[in-house]
Amino acid sequence: MPQIESTMKKVYKDATDAVADINDGAVLMLGGFGLCGIPENCIAALVAKAVKDLTCISNNAGVDDFGIGLMLQQKQVKKMVSSYVGENEEFERQMLSGELEVELIPQGTLATRCMAAGYGMPAIFTPAGIGTEVAAGKEVRNFKGKDYLLEEAFDADFAIVKAWKGDTEGNLIYRATARNFNPMMAMAGKITIAEVEELVPAGSLDPDMIHTPGIFVHRIFEGKNYEKRIEQRTVRKK
């Protein structure tokens, strides 16, 4: 076998370039937990692009002036699919007025429905929500004496994730708890867009230490000016 030097054409110039074909009505997955590990550059580009009627699958909805909150302010979001949508007044206003549709999903179910898509599994079974309103209309099935809900894999047009480092083949490494939903979403997107703090040449990352293999990533670019806002700054004294 000859030496194969792969130079996949995945590298995009910037966020504007990477989200250029995301159009009104798209279904997006957006990585992050709270404001930790969110794709800041892509969100800014989507706000600038003023694309509308988006469905956003994301664990949270940002805060009023950061994260997905910025898209909510511009009324770009038709529907949020999340597990927790606390800290956001504009979100609350739009939800109560009926402008915004909200589907609340247990966090583990959210994660696992993303995972199912990435693994090519059409549905998974989870006990989360059994006996609650989350189970309404869903199939319940008993395995070995325990009830489980059948939950279908998500079907998103684009997955937009944030990683710490990435290479030109699309391989990704996340940092600390900024990993969260990003790896499953990266695997799940029909088109996956990854923004990274540092983009390095293929071969720079240890193949044993890659969290998301490049096959799942279709577009990658080095983001800039990361704010990485902290939601709850808690410290102890020396």
């Binding site: 247990p106 966090q107 006990p127 929500g129 609650t132 989350v134 708890t177 900024a178 902290i230 939601e231």
Partner: protein, 219 residues
Amino acid sequence: MALTKEQIAQRIARELQDGFYVNLGIGIPTLVANYIPEGIDVVLQSENGLLGMGPFPLEGEEDADLINAGKQTITTIPGSSFFDSAVSFGMIRAGKVDLTVLGAMEVSELGDIANWKIPGKMVKGMGGAMDLVASARNIIVAMMHTNPKGQSKLLPACTLPLTGVKCVKKIVSDLAVLDILPEGGFLLRETAPGVSVDEIKQKTAGRLLVADDVKPMEF
């Protein structure tokens, strides 16, 4: 006298066993970490993707990439590991977490729990609570025995939308420690200092049984 929130946490900490992996919910449960007994090693799981949660960082050492499920800046300890949310809820669902401590608005005598939604109020979402209660092998609820109006939060059946069914094993309230019996019913095991069995009976709307060896709480 009713326990303070700190005291509830302190009492729950006595339930920790050496080698336990523990998930602590937001609020009183978080405080449990302050009272881990001497000689007991536990590993704290944060469902956003960390095993081995350490204390809050020193001022100036906060790391925006390192938070807990309450979105607070935290630290790691030697032996910590990071993982994604699917693995995190995988370990929860597979019963690898030994103990889950969380708050509740209502608990029923069957062990049902309601802690995520009040009809008519803004609903923020269940977060990971439904996953935790559906899968945890051992759930302790930290809660006030009554609401601010003095009404019992330990009920024959929950009135609020449920988070999970037949899952709570133990309650540590400001007044008492109670087990939930497999066949249903609150079994009073310990009373808060200076709180009478009668007061607890009066403030428990669900079926209350009193253990033969009921005794005052120890800390």
